[in-house]
Symmetry: C2
Subunit: 353 residues, 2 copies
């Protein structure tokens, strides 16, 4: 029998804390009964929730702490106040100590990135962590990063994102040599910020065996599935993700409105109910909830702060799979294949510039 | 009888040139019979199309030129080769000479921005033009800018965008004091690039009578209609717009697929056909085609390069309305209200920094 998957949860994270985290984890547990949970946070609140989910209760161990990171705390403030004591820190620390395979939090992104970086440290050759998510496209799924772990970045940072993203795509989608595109505002060579053009030159010059750099991709290329991996710095990545989510939510709203309007359309709705359900599922940004922090000596998954239990369950599913497929070891192997891809990025950049 | 609206068209612009521009303009002419067209480009190609649309032919005058700007030419190259001779330049120049109220092109954005700037010159106090579009939201329409006229920009540039965008929203939506939000990756004060935080301070400090600055808006706030005007520099604006368009196209595709799948859903589709049509219209990025170049001594409308005749017609409709409602004069009045808003931006910035 394979080992159980152990997941550390920041039970206080997100807009609703334990009242979403526990019911969400309970949903995921039904799908993956071989999960065990470490729950960090206020014991009273956690146990009140656990009482409603006996299977979840049986699979969980609670570690009490009074300290929770606020959703609007500055990262520096959160670190000062919550290092070694907050539910967020303790969940991450459980990964460091090997007590859990992954930490999951719906808390403050900035604080989570800062704590993960501080507690777990970066992988060799990687300067900054990146938030990567699986983006459903017309051609299947793509990995998109950075979705806002940090903002800005030079050509070398973009190259590191390309290497990490393609490692993730290789592992999750079983691809030998994923295609990689750089997000830009045009596909022509002369467009966009200088660092993006430089990164393009670098990726071409390096011609890495583990990824196939295909050029620039515009915003609408993400949904079209123009590349297996879409690389951008965290500001525009976050804007792209949220603009797409907002549009999906807006269209789901239109759909509801259009179907409710007339008797004929209501009858139509009854006939087509299942098809609609499938469509709604595809339109629901919550279904792809959960982005993973790459570049660290350990796996941390970030859930949307405002998600419901259903949405949080998807983030837990994601974390489960990362551990089950041993994502981190495989990413490390990728990063080290053919010596060090990122060390060669350094050399290639010196050659290019 | 009011004066006719005169529109100058770059008949060679876009991926399909005259074969989309003329049929598109003909559709718009049916909706606005008080339009006259000046058509710039290859006479043979233009007249071959006009022969198919007698009403359009009667409302048009053709000005021949051999020179057309290529879709992938660099702006500098386009200017060198096409200044004073290309169909794009001549259409813009017709606005400068007062022969037309607006120039419309589906050509190369970079070249269009460069030529418009060179030919028409900037309004006093404005350094760089901006591409603004009307974005359909859950709460009505919003103005979003800059969608990629230029990239990057300091706090003063963002403030100028806020002033121009709110002038456009006032005129088009009839609002006394439109709400303005700055696009950012979080709503907390400490998030995002420094220039965005600075612009926020500036807008608060200026407390302009013509706009109501409400704070940061995230990517998903655009579709939610969080503000009447959403301000961002051109790189992230372009990424946001295209990510949203890509998502809309993707979901329209899912909808088609979901409805075709089973007999029951096909029957449902027949019953709900009209509701679907309405939904498809809302999902169609082409329906909001046409962004306007703000900040110039004249109106220039940019259509998507890859649009069809239906889409181009929406860009022409947009241009028609800008002239009919005398957008430019009204924007100028807004910019000059209470002395010069932008001169006071300069002063406020010095005070803040």
């Amino acid at each position: 029998m394979p080992q159980k998957v152990r997941i550390a949860l920041d039970a206080m994270g997100g807009d609703f804390g334990a009242s979403v985290v526990i019911p969400g984890a309970a949903i995921s547990l039904r799908r993956h009964p071989d999960t065990e949970f470490l729950l960090f946070g206020d014991r009273a609140q956690i146990e009140a929730q656990l009482a409603r989910y006996p299977a979840m209760q049986a699979a969980s161990r609670v570690v009490h702490t009074d300290v929770a990171v606020g959703m609007h705390e500055k990262p520096s403030q959160a670190l000062r106040r919550g290092r070694k004591t907050s539910s967020m820190w303790l969940a991450i620390d459980a990964v460091k100590k090997g007590e859990a395979g992954v930490a999951i939090s719906a808390g403050n992104t900035g604080a989570l990135v800062a704590m993960a970086r501080f507690c777990l440290r970066m992988l060799p050759g990687i300067d900054r962590p990146a938030l990567a998510a699986i983006w459903p496209t017309m051609r299947g799924d793509s990995v998109v990063l950075d979705l806002g772990a940090t903002i800005g970045g030079d050509a070398r940072h973009l190259t590191a994102l390309a290497v990490m993203g393609s490692a993730m795509a290789s592992v999750l989608f079983g691809l030998e040599r994923p295609t990689v595109g750089l997000l830009n505002i045009g596909v022509e060579e002369m467009k966009g910020h200088e660092e993006i053009r430089e990164a393009a030159e670098l990726l071409r010059a390096m011609n890495l065996p583990q990824l196939d750099y295909i050029g620039f991709v515009e915003g609408d290329g993400i949904g079209r599935g123009a590349a297996d991996v879409i690389v951008t710095e965290g500001f525009s990545g976050n804007i792209a993700l949220k603009a797409a989510e907002g549009t999906a939510r807006q269209l789901a709203e239109y759909l509801r409105g259009a179907m409710a309007r007339t008797l004929r359309s209501r009858i139509g709705y009854l006939f087509a109910k299942k098809a609609f359900q499938a469509l709604r599922d595809k339109m629901d940004p919550g279904k792809s909830n959960g982005s993973v922090l790459l570049g660290l000596n350990g796996i941390v998954v970030k859930s949307h702060g405002g998600t419901d239990a259903e949405g949080f369950a998807y983030a837990v599913d994601g974390g489960y799979e990362m551990v089950r497929y041993d994502l981190l070891t495989k990413i490390n192997q990728m990063l080290n294949r053919d010596g060090s891809a990122l060390a060669s990025a350094q050399t290639a950049q010196e050659a290019v510039s």
